[in-house]
């Protein structure tokens, strides 16, 4: 049976792992490779590295650390941040990443998703979506979220965008519910359930994990394939081995690496 994935997300800025609250005020969390190895040893199912400085600064990720991570870890990982072309994606994949995730560049130029799918297969192409609930009750996407000063709202409804990216060739979607991000009050179940109903491809929940219960809730109530989190893992609030025991106790299928 397919396991539900537990995915620590490492936000990378200037070659270090950082974490902010609601995408602001980044605090240094440690060395990329050290944290990657720690999570691998604890039983993380996959890692996501988000180069949050890349898109706002108009540059792509620096591949040296991608290769260092690829050499050392034996679980899959995805790299996001500033991937704007097939050539950049190729370089990141050749450095050893298993998947690439596009967010802002896909909003700038949606055909990028199709170009990546044609070049590498849909299974390599993750589309990250940053979503905010607006005053009219609709969720809409945000871009350039790595830098609050440059963040933009292109006006696109999140649920429309989810349908469109699948048609273009997204092999997986990470839905980051920004209203919940970093505040540890639980995943945005309402939004994720609506997203789930529209996603035939794997859907990963992001934003809001604060306790083990939140992970159980998002798997049970929103039927997501994976749950991504950062601060609860970095800060030691939730330990992955204990989390997996907890989920197993709730009859949620998780990987057990014997």
């Amino acid at each position: 049976m397919l396991s539900r994935r537990i995915i620590p997300c490492l936000d990378v800025k200037d070659g270090r792992v950082v974490k902010g609250v609601r995408f602001r005020d980044h605090v240094d969390m440690g060395d990329i490779v050290e944290l990657a190895l720690r999570y691998r040893d604890e039983g993380a199912d996959e890692l996501v590295f988000y180069d949050i400085g890349a898109s706002p600064e108009g540059r792509s990720v620096d591949y040296a650390w991608v290769e260092r991570v690829a050499r050392l870890i034996d679980i899959p990982f995805c790299v996001a941040g500033g991937i704007r072309s097939v050539e950049t994606a190729r370089a990141v994949l050749h450095a050893g990443a298993d998947k690439i995730s596009v967010n802002t560049p896909a909003l700038e130029r949606p055909e990028l998703i199709s170009e990546l799918a044609a070049a590498f297969g849909v299974q390599c192409v993750v589309v990250g979506v940053d979503s905010v609930r607006e005053a009219d009750g609709q969720w809409r996407v945000r871009q350039y979220t790595g830098d609050p000063a440059r963040m933009r709202a292109p006006g696109l409804r999140t649920l429309d965008w989810l349908v469109q990216v699948q048609r273009l060739g997204a092999g997986e979607i990470v839905l980051n519910c920004m209203d919940s991000d970093g505040v540890r009050r639980g995943y945005d179940i309402t939004q994720l359930r609506q997203a789930r109903a529209l996603c035939q491809v794997p859907l990963v929940a992001s934003g809001g994990a604060g306790s083990m219960e939140h992970f159980a809730e998002v798997f049970e109530q929103a039927d997501v394939d994976g749950a991504l989190a950062a601060s609860v893992f970095h800060g030691g609030v939730v330990a992955i081995p204990e989390l997996k025991r907890f989920l197993r106790g709730r009859n949620i299928e998780v990987r057990d690496d014997r």
Partner: protein, 199 residues
């Protein structure tokens, strides 16, 4: 022991090479027919689409080399699918080293495609390639097409339907999952392949 990785341009070549390095094996990356024929172990990695994978093998003149290889050959992910007769993905003829056709996985209730993540293996029979790997062990899969459970199937996995996860017939073997990204189980499969060949 000379281990070569067939350079078919697949994007997981680096990862497979690193996985072998973690086992102390320095594999040579090559598309040279002579070097591939002369190797003790040959690994055909692959990520992407079947038609493009076959085009690359033809362009480098490797189709016959792989078809007539005497030494143990291991296909990984798309590399395993290419070992079969045909793939439904863009309707392409493959190497034909194993009987059967690769077909698309269909989405359904609770079944998302591509099949992405850690799924359990079910052993059909014991083989040196699967030493230390048991039914219920998890391996990491990422694919939208899958090979049938035929005579060559050593282990299967279910996602919507049951499909071949590890295959072997004679000197030809394959893993649908990614051993380079499947933690202990993946390392064990690669080590078994290097140490035992396909005896």
């Amino acid at each position: 022991m000379r281990v070569v990785l067939v350079d078919g341009g697949g994007s997981n070549i680096g990862s497979v090479r690193y996985a072998l390095q973690r086992l102390g094996v320095d594999a040579e990356l090559t598309a040279d027919p002579e070097r591939i024929r002369a190797a003790d172990r040959v690994i055909l990695p692959g990520v992407g689409a079947a038609a493009e994978g076959m085009r690359r093998l033809r362009r480098y003149g490797l189709v016959e080399v792989l078809r007539t290889l005497q030494r143990p050959l291991l296909g990984v992910c798309l590399g395993m699918q290419l070992l079969f007769e045909h793939s439904e993905e863009e309707d392409v003829d493959c190497l034909g080293l194993l009987p059967g056709r690769v077909t698309r996985l269909r989405p359904g209730p609770g079944v998302r495609v591509p099949h992405m993540g850690w799924n359990t293996l079910e052993k059909n029979r014991d083989a040196p390639l699967l030493e230390g790997i048991e039914s219920g062990d998890h391996a990491y899969f990422v694919h939208g097409y899958a090979a049938p459970v035929g005579e060559a199937c050593l282990a299967s996995t279910t996602h919507g339907r049951r499909f071949a996860a590890v295959v072997q017939r004679g000197n030809v073997a394959g893993a649908q999952f990614h051993p380079e990204r499947s933690a202990r189980v993946g390392a064990r499969l690669l080590r078994n392949f290097i140490e035992y060949g396909l005896a």
